[in-house]
Symmetry: C2
């Protein structure tokens, strides 16, 4: 830059502080609540080891490397935080408020749903701790808003999409499926009503859960052919 440059360019360069891009990941798993024992949504957080917000808990993530795709960045964070590579990983939202960080950082947030059998393989990374999602402490930056947003999306989306299966193995019992809905929605569901509705979208495998001698429960799979093609149905979620 030289002094010959016009004033408008100088002004523009003054505004053009660098915008940093980060990828953060909300990782949901279902585990028993520490008090009630009921299946509950948990997520891992990372204690910050540098300023700003040194020592506070934050969502796992980091700056986007220039040679890395967005989802690859989220997968690396997942691997580093939990040792896992969950089946369900999806872009959630980009958070970019000017005042969300002392530097200008836009975070593209992914979310992952962890199956019980994946969760059983998880390891706890450095400075990582798991929390009940509805009971997280005050987090760094706007990460409380991000967790709230992810929970709201999860609770809405489970009512109109097959997202519940993200928490389940390929084959599962009706009781396991209901447990997922109850954990996400935070309330008990009537087993008979649930069964009637759930069976519309399931395929019986003809197998039963092994290891139970007396009336072992039947195993089902999600039947993707029951997803309705685009048809004229009317509002079921606020926009």
């Amino acid at each position: 830059m030289t002094v010959q440059e016009p004033a408008t360019t100088l002004a523009r360069q003054h505004v053009q502080q660098r915008v940093e891009l980060a990828v953060s990941t909300v990782i949901f798993a279902l585990r028993p609540h520490p008090v009630s024992g009921e299946p509950t949504i948990w997520l891992p957080l990372v204690r910050r080891i540098r300023e700003p917000h040194l020592g506070q808990w934050a969502l796992p993530g980091g700056p986007l490397e220039s040679d890395e795709d967005l989802a690859a960045s989220a997968r690396h964070t997942l691997e580093r935080t939990t040792g896992l590579a969950p089946h369900y990983l999806e872009q959630l939202y980009a958070f970019g408020r000017v005042d969300r960080s002392p530097d200008r950082v836009v975070s593209i947030v992914y979310w992952a749903l962890v199956r019980a059998e994946e969760d059983a393989q998880s390891v706890v990374g450095d400075n990582v701790e798991w929390f009940v999602a509805d009971e997280v402490p005050e987090l760094a930056f706007d990460h409380n808003d991000i967790v709230d947003y992810a929970l709201t999306r999860l609770r809405a989306k489970i009512t109109y999409s097959p997202i519940a299966y993200g928490f389940l193995p390929e084959e599962f019992t009706l009781a396991q499926l209901r447990e997922v809905y109850e954990a996400v929605l935070g309330r008990r569901l009537d087993p008979a009503n649930f069964r009637r509705q759930a069976l519309r979208t399931l395929k019986a495998t003809g197998r039963c859960l092994s290891g139970r001698s007396h009336r072992p429960p039947a195993l089902y799979r999600f039947d993707p052919s029951t997803i309705r093609p685009t048809t004229l149905t009317f509002p079921e979620e606020p926009r």
Copy 2:
């Protein structure tokens, strides 16, 4: 940077080419198809005046200013491209493939739906031209993928959310509402069936469309109280 820095830092800085952040906007309006005359989805594109892709059509947008929120950036692009400030503006998705541009650019894409009465006020910005959304030419970068993604989302979302009202004034006739669904879904709908389904989510205003002497059609409003609260319903969209 000095030669005293350890090799790992140098390697890291080599990888850490700057990641640029852009905000682009897909602006949908309904206008008559140039051949059939049927209401059709259109969008404005901007001819690029610099490399890469000099002279090609692209989605309107630009780099994120460091002092600008993401949605504010999209609103400025909208204003610059069409002179409009539509009611419906929403974040769509972040596109970040490493190879989508010669430089590393992540684009956070917003979409806007333009009401007919807003569209009537629109102006055409410099280097801007409107195209039928399903008939756009080969666009710069991955913008054809982005347009396809936005169309797919629009066609899915209109089946389970009140997004259709983004194209309509506060009060509208049943024929106007059906026209929106037909334009988005690209097919004719049975008027009697449509009427029956639509009335579930509408409130009669008691007024009629003026300026028609003979049997003027009734005007309706969307009734937000008909949006079902979170209930246990089952898959209606692929995840």
